[in-house]
């Protein structure tokens, strides 16, 4: 009995230590980012976020085009992928909830999350980009093919599994007596999904979308292959652009000048803050809208 008790204590100690370690690690990241980017922080101040010129030769650094590029690609990807993911989730949990084909579709969606991003990049560059280019030629705008729109499409496919899997999980967790009660009152299947299931699992679905958005914000390799890597402010969703993650990946290895290096690290800090900020807002919305819990 006594031995068991001490084992319990050790176990609890390990859990505490792990949790504490995580906080220390996160805080450490933050401090390192601020420390390493101090030169750029003090030199450009707020102008770093509002500046549109990124000139390593004159040491002029403004990250607005990258901030905009990251936000547009990620939110556009979320807008494209969200309805699709939700439909997959509803389909798998309400219409096709067991059997061979259920398993095939479910595994296919989960496999999507396991494909390395560079493979998505290749597919985007060699398959999607020519299609987009033809489309751009057809509607009579500058036919680059690569750009923000192409990146958003590839990103939207990459993030489907996150929203779809989590949504499916929370939808299957809706108690069947609630659903059966609605059916007994004469509700159709559509009405049950629309009025019972979706409201009940709303906050969980939202959390899945948030996770997907976080993935889109940080995606680097696939985006850098198809966004066109242009450091100029995008003028439309078909323009070539650049994202924060992509700039860091592209320029970090050969950045020898200290201001340049510290400006790149400040982009990392900015990405860190943007991701944290979006997550906090998301948590707040989940708290406000959670109904049945």
């Amino acid at each position: 009995m006594r031995k068991l008790f001490s084992g319990d204590k050790i176990y609890r100690g390990i859990l505490y230590a792990s949790a504490f370690f995580l906080i220390v690690l996160l805080f450490g990241f933050f401090i390192t980012f601020i420390f390493e980017s101090s030169e750029s922080l003090s030199k450009f101040g707020f102008g770093f976020i509002t500046g549109t010129q990124w000139d390593p030769i004159d040491s002029q650094f403004g990250a607005l085009p990258f901030l905009i590029g990251t936000l547009i690609t990620s939110f556009l990807a979320l807008i494209i992928s969200f309805p699709l993911s939700l439909m997959i989730a509803v389909f798998l949990s309400e219409y096709f909830h067991k059997g061979f084909f259920h398993n095939i579709i479910k595994t296919a969606v989960e496999l999507l999350a396991g494909i390395p991003s560079i493979v998505f990049g290749f597919w985007g560059l060699f398959v999607l980009v020519p299609v987009i280019r033809d489309f751009q030629t057809a509607i009579g705008i500058e036919a680059y093919g690569v750009g923000i729109f192409s990146s958003a499409i590839v990103l939207s496919i990459m993030i489907i599994p996150y929203t779809a899997s989590i949504s499916r999980e929370v939808i299957t967790m809706v108690p069947s007596d609630v659903k059966e009660a609605a059916y007994s009152l004469g509700a159709t299947k559509y009405e049950v999904i629309r009025r019972i299931i979706l409201p009940y699992s709303g906050s969980g679905i939202f959390a899945g979308a948030l996770l997907a958005l976080g993935r889109a914000l940080g995606e680097t390799m696939a985006v850098t292959m198809i966004i066109g890597n242009s450091n100029i402010m995008p003028t439309s969703i078909f323009s070539p652009g650049n994202t924060m993650a992509s700039v860091i990946a592209n320029e970090f290895t050969e950045a020898t000048d200290s201001t340049y290096l510290s400006a790149l690290i400040e982009i990392g800090l900015l990405l860190f803050i943007v991701t944290a900020f979006i997550n906090l807002i998301g948590k707040y919305i989940i708290k406000k809208t959670a109904r049945f819990s």
Binding site: V146, M225, A249, E254, A255, T256
Partner: protein
């Protein structure tokens, strides 16, 4: 049956020998005598790895070269974690001063940037530096622009928009390209300048040579620049460029070598773009190996210092035969003589290592 047992015997003997050799090099590697460490430029990596591989076969000295980029090579040498660095852009006066102790540059081979494009039928085009600058500044917007047509009277140019493709990652290739255009065009000098990463006024960025090549091959009406090595091994069209003597030069192994065939400064730290050599290709550059002039630091023994110098000596002499098959341009006579003199100035405890 007999054959099989013979074969097994042979395999056993071979593996035994191999193991013995491995053990030996491992042992000596630990004591720090036979493994030479280098790091730096990615551009000459295929050439270096071939040369170092051959050197290992002949002399039994292992060389470990990490292709981490020129900037990284300089950093690693200055922080004394490697025996030598590799760089595509020579260290400027400030970088040399910050290194503390004198560093020497030894040119090993030459590379060049090729202007490649995607037009119907891919005709052989001719360009001048001014026209290239205007295209990459966004001032020439269409393929049938008068300035391009004047240089290519025999080619029927389409009325197509030019899509400029450049490198998105920091790169020595971009450095050479912008260094050339800065010398040629006042406008380029003031608006863009020279560097590994630039504030590009127009165009799409591709990551690495393969990124640029991929975009150019895919996008009709595009123009971009890639390394000569890369364009040769991928059979990409390459434009003839007018050099300072007024000749249109095709980028080839020999025309790039010839670009360095003029009176170089004694330390070879020179940009050879826009060369004065009459048959030289104007967007060419050296790539260098850098090392400390005095090799007695961090408890290096004299033997190890000698091995480093011997390796580089072999590289710029016997090693040069491996350059051309890999599409690198070997050092011309002028540059080789300079490189020899510099290598002879490397010392251990103030005493020259190579007599």
């Amino acid at each position: 049956m007999k054959n099989i047992s013979l074969m097994i015997l042979a395999v056993i003997i071979l593996t035994a020998c191999g193991e013995k050799k491995d053990m030996k090099s491992l042992k000596e590697g630990v004591s720090g005598t036979t493994e030479i460490l280098g790091a730096g430029a990615t551009f000459p990596f295929p050439f270096y790895s071939k040369v170092f591989d051959e050197y290992n076969k002949i002399k039994g000295v292992k060389v470990n070269y990490q292709a981490i980029g020129s900037g990284g090579g300089i950093k690693q040498l200055v922080s004394k974690t490697v025996d030598f660095g590799g760089t595509d852009a020579f260290m400027d006066a400030q970088e040399l001063a910050e290194a503390g102790k004198p560093i020497v540059h030894i040119p090993t081979c030459l590379g060049a940037d090729v202007i490649t494009y995607n037009l119907p039928g891919n005709p052989k085009l001719k360009f001048t530096g001014e026209v290239i600058a205007d295209i990459f500044l966004g001032k020439i917007k269409k393929w049938n622009d008068k300035k391009i047509a004047e240089l290519n009277p025999d080619v029927k140019l389409p009325s197509q928009k030019i899509v400029v493709v450049h490198r998105s990652d920091g790169s020595g290739t971009t450095f050479i390209f912008s260094d050339y255009l800065t010398k040629i065009s006042k406008d380029w000098e003031t608006k863009v300048g020279t560097g590994k990463s630039l504030d590009w006024p127009v165009g799409l960025g591709g990551k690495g040579n393969q990124g640029v090549a991929g975009l150019v091959q895919q996008t009709p009406g595009s123009i971009g620049y890639v390394e000569l090595v890369y364009s040769k091994s991928n059979n990409m069209p390459a434009a003839l460029i007018k050099n300072s003597s007024g000749n249109f030069i095709d980028p080839t192994i020999s025309s790039v070598s010839l670009a360095a065939n003029f009176e170089l400064p004694a330390d070879t730290r020179a940009s050879i773009t826009n060369t004065s050599s009459a048959d030289g290709y104007p967007i060419s550059s050296f790539t260098w190996i850098i090392l400390f002039k005095e090799l007695n630091y961090n408890n290096r023994d004299e033997n190890h210092a000698k091995e480093i110098v011997d390796l580089i000596w072999w590289l710029i002499h016997q090693g040069e035969q491996y350059a051309e098959p890999l599409h690198y341009s070997p050092l011309p006579q002028q540059a080789l003589l300079k490189a020899e003199t510099i290598l002879k100035s490397v010392t251990y405890n103030g005493k020259p290592i190579k007599e």
